[in-house]
């Protein structure tokens, strides 16, 4: 066990956990921030996507000890009012079916748009390749990303 000071969604959190604990489980079990989802545990499905200093990362394989002073953003902190352009576009296109993967999809999409304000279809395919949607909402996700790109 070791003490960590994490900056998550703009707030500081002190924790005493096993340094090997992935950020995913720190968020879910220790801080009850459950928007970040467990899907595979091996960075293959993207359900656990968060931002580390603005970069999309799979929180299921990042040990808490590796975070250091990087700022963590989770779906709960993507916007204060749930009105990030990507979230709004998701609502406009009524994207979710089961909804389980969508927080990870949104976090990947938001990171893409912060780097590339006018992504092509190929850019979207590449940036979203790591996020599985078992319900198959990909066509809506892509349409929503394009809408968000126009707004943002």
């Amino acid at each position: 066990m070791a003490n960590f000071n994490l900056k998550i969604n703009g707030k500081n959190h002190q924790l005493d956990v096993d340094p090997a604990t992935p950020v995913l489980w720190v968020l879910r079990d220790h801080l009850h921030l459950v928007g970040t989802k467990y899907g595979c545990g091996i960075a293959q499905c993207g359900a656990c996507t968060i931002h580390l200093d603005g970069v999309a990362m799979r929180s299921c394989i990042i040990p808490v000890s590796a975070v250091r002073d990087q700022a963590i953003t989770t779906i709960e902190g993507l916007s204060e009012q749930g009105d990030h352009p990507v979230q709004q576009a998701w609502l406009e296109h009524d994207v979710p079916q089961c909804g389980y993967c969508q927080a990870g999809q949104i976090m990947s999409a938001a990171a893409l748009l912060s780097d590339n304000t006018k992504p092509s279809d190929e850019d979207i395919d590449m940036a979203m390749h790591g996020n599985i949607c078992r319900c198959g909402t990909y066509t809506r996700i892509k349409a929503a990303i394009k809408t968000a790109a126009k707004v943002g």
């Binding site: 992935p22 595979c40 609502l91 979710p96 996020n131 809506r140 892509k142």
Partner: protein, 750 residues
């Protein structure tokens, strides 16, 4: 106008169903998505609620809460079911809140998700709930105003008496209405008067989903709750022999390690009690990560199972189930299938004289098709919360059919079934998998043993290797053409491990004078279960690929060939029991032909067509494929569906888009193989799922417009897409596709 006898009562309790701390109770106050929240109208909460019937309560300010009875797993019933109530209640949709009803069949009837039967089964009861509430509100107004009931009219949430120019909101009359007896019969609206049904309404949970609120079973938390994980045998055909838990128990955060047995001795299983591994080791600790680490340190030894023959109390009464011993492999399955499929099967249907027709045929075409096992792979892995205290149990779990597992939980715990309370949080997918809720029994047994509230979580690996798969299937089709290229005989022989996929009375049965349908099956200890459009998900692809090949051999356009057969089935049906309406079937083919502009030159785009009827709904697809550097790219799918009245059109389109994408993914990549009883894939590094760049670039969904009562939407667009993929690949490459998956781990065709 339909007048119906009512069959609804008051709720016997008014317990809050808000399992996840209010997260389940959501406003419909729909912000157009461009507005920021500060501009959004926030719905005022009433000071008092009045229960009108089991399905709804009305606040003194006119806000309505509708209890949605069935569990949600992405089919959007949490929106579409309340729409049915709101329609007949005649209320402003913006004044409706939705709450998930808890499991309570006395109040809410059969609460389930499966078989694409939700909307169909609730079509009348939910409208009745709304209509009977409206009747009571009108009655209350008539009494208050001392006017005849028939003179009291309604407009969205308002009651009126025109002659005396009086009006009142529903909220003003709710208190009086709640005291009146439920009417014995009610009259439902005519289709032309619908204002909510057949209009697109946004998913009521979408806002919570995009903000990452706690909604799912996996998110459930209770103070003092421990985390549990199971260790199951590494192979089908093995069972627990002994456990050495010393190393695991010594790991940090671990509280207890227990063994559980899911069925008491002599327990007569129901049809959904499927469980390959009823004896398990459970590790219980403080946090998920700690339990995951201890799981790796657990040492257990396993022994071969013995073959069993049991009586199962299934759907169709008592059934005998044989489970062989041994460690099965995909290779041994293939050898078994080759042997059994070459012998005569069990004849299920015969029309005319197929033997003579094949002997006299000008041309005979015979083709065989196969498909592998599939894992459901819901994005939310299996999980369940249970808290057993004495003879009471509280459960919260993603579950498709709670009623089927309650008796097993009760038997396992040794408590009365009525002492089990069950909440049904939103499911992160199910696809049939969460109809087999052995994991809820496991969570309950663990909680009972460790005397604490427990959340059981399966790792992805546990989820993928635990069984309940889509079975592996094989089918051989034979067609006889006469000298004029008419289809004069059809023979289908289909089977699988451990069940046959055959539907003997589906098209083209009824359209062919000489028809023979046979089936076979092979027992196995690898467990299977319903998987989105069970059996149809294989048969449609095989049948529609075969018909395409027969049409080609007959020199006919594949759509016209099917339409000619359907005309035959309509005008001159063969046999007594044909499961489909030939006219509606033809209707979706005609619609897709028109919408896809079939027959026009598409340049380098190759088109495949396919159609199918299952779950009471008709679906037809035209799939446009290009080949880029050997890699198939789905440019577009045009889809036509006849599911009767479409309750929530945009949500129904979403379902169709998802089914199409899911089907394309499985047609190209879906496969689970076995070696000595061990599943050869256990996570998404090896189990290939369709991803963004592989999804169709465009999906164009069209619905047949009619006034027929609504039927299934979750499953029907899924099965036929397999045929559309295969037929488009043939157009592109000249190679027919007989064995799924068409790509597997490869990137390019051929």
């Amino acid at each position: 106008m339909t007048t119906l006898k009512t069959s609804i009562g008051r709720r016997s309790f008014l317990k809050s169903a808000a399992l996840t701390g209010g997260g389940m109770m959501l406003g419909f106050s729909w912000l157009s998505s461009c507005q920021s929240k500060t501009e959004e109208e926030v719905m005022a909460m009433p000071e008092a609620w009045f229960e009108i019937n089991a399905y709804l309560k009305i606040g003194d300010n006119g806000v309505v809460t509708i209890y949605t009875p069935n569990p949600e797993f992405g089919q959007n019933v949490r929106t579409s079911m309340p729409m049915l109530v709101a329609e007949e209640l005649d209320v402003n949709w913006d004044k409706v809140l939705v709450e998930q009803a808890p499991y309570h069949p006395e109040n809410f009837g059969f609460q389930f998700t499966g078989g694409s039967r939700g909307i169909m089964s609730r079509w009348e009861p939910l409208r009745m709930a709304g209509a009977s509430a409206k009747h009571l509100l009108r009655q209350a107004a008539a009494q208050a105003w001392q006017v005849p009931l028939e003179e009291v009219t309604t407009t969205t949430g308002m009651l009126h008496h025109q002659a005396s120019d009086r009006s009142a909101g529903y909220g003003e009359m709710a208190s009086a209405a709640a005291k009146l007896p439920i009417p014995e019969e009610v009259t439902l609206k005519e289709v032309k008067d619908f204002r909510i049904i057949s209009t697109s309404r946004k998913n009521v949970d979408a806002k919570s989903i995009v903000q990452g609120q706690s909604l799912f079973g996996m998110d459930y938390h209770k103070k003092g709750m421990l985390i549990a994980m199971i260790v199951h045998p590494p192979a089908f055909g093995l069972t627990l022999e002994s456990v050495d838990d010393a190393a695991a128990k010594a790991m940090p955060g671990i509280k207890e390690i227990v063994t559980i047995k899911s069925f008491p001795d002599g327990y007569e299983k129901g049809g959904f009690d499927t469980n390959a591994f009823p004896e398990l080791v459970a590790i219980v600790g403080n946090s998920t990560w700690e339990v995951m680490q201890a799981k790796k340190e657990l040492k257990a030894s396993w022994k071969p199972i013995t073959a069993t023959t049991e009586t199962i109390n299934g759907f169709r009464g008592k059934e005998t189930k044989h489970t062989p011993a041994g460690l099965e492999s995909t290779d041994s399955h293939k050898a078994q299938i080759a042997e059994v499929a070459s012998k005569p099967g069990k004849i299920v249907r015969q029309d005319g004289d197929p033997q003579a027709a094949f002997e006299n045929a000008a041309k005979v075409i015979e083709r065989s098709y196969s498909a592998p096992y599939l894992a459901h792979n819901s994005m939310e892995p299996i999980n369940a919360f249970a808290h057993v205290e004495g003879d009471k149990a509280t459960i919260a779990a993603p579950i498709q059919i709670p009623g089927f597992i309650i008796p097993t939980i009760a038997a396992g715990l040794g408590i009365p079934a009525e002492n089990i309370e069950m909440e049904m949080p939103r499911m992160g997918g199910g696809f049939g998998r969460k109809a087999y809720a052995h994991y809820v029994v496991e969570a309950a047994l663990i909680s009972q043993k460790v005397h604490a509230p427990v959340k059981l979580i399966y790792t992805r690996e546990d989820d993928m290797t635990n069984g309940i798969y889509r079975p592996t299937y094989q089918a051989t089709y034979r067609a006889a053409l006469d000298e004029n290229n008419n289809l004069v005989a059809l023979h289908v022989k289909a089977g699988g491990i451990p069940e046959s996929p055959l539907f003997a009375n589906r098209f083209p049965a009824g359209a062919v004078a000489n028809y023979l349908a046979e089936e076979w099956s092979i027992d196995s200890n690898i467990t299977i279960g319903a998987y989105r459009a069970p059996r149809s998900n294989f048969m449609a692809g095989a049948e529609q690929s075969f018909l395409d090949e027969v049409a080609e051999a007959a020199g006919k356009d594949p759509i016209q060939f099917r339409l000619d057969l359907l005309k035959q089935a309509k005008d001159n049906p063969v046999g007594e029991e044909n499961d489909y309406d030939a006219e509606r079937y033809a209707g979706v083919l005609e619609l897709v032909r028109e919408k896809a502009a079939w027959g026009q030159n598409q340049g380098n785009v190759h088109r495949g067509v396919s159609a199918y009827f299952c779950h009471n709904t008709y679906a037809a697809h035209v799939l446009d494929l290009t080949i880029e550097k050997g890699k198939p790219v789905v440019q577009k799918v045009c889809c036509a569906i006849d599911c009767g009245i479409v309750v929530n059109p945009d949500a129904a389109k979403n379902m169709a888009e998802g089914a199409i994408t899911d089907g394309i993914g499985n047609a190209f990549y879906g496969e689970l193989t076995f070696k000595d009883g061990v599943p050869e894939k256990s996570n998404f590094d090896k189990y290939r799922m369709i991803r963004m760049g592989e999804a169709p670039k465009e999906i164009d969904v069209h619905f047949v417009q009619n006034e027929i009562a609504p039927t299934g939407m979750g499953e029907p667009p899924f099965p036929p897409i397999f045929g559309a993929v295969a037929n488009a690949i043939f157009k592109a490459t000249g190679e027919r596709q007989y064995d799924q998956p068409f790509l597997g781990d490869k990137q390019v065709l051929g």
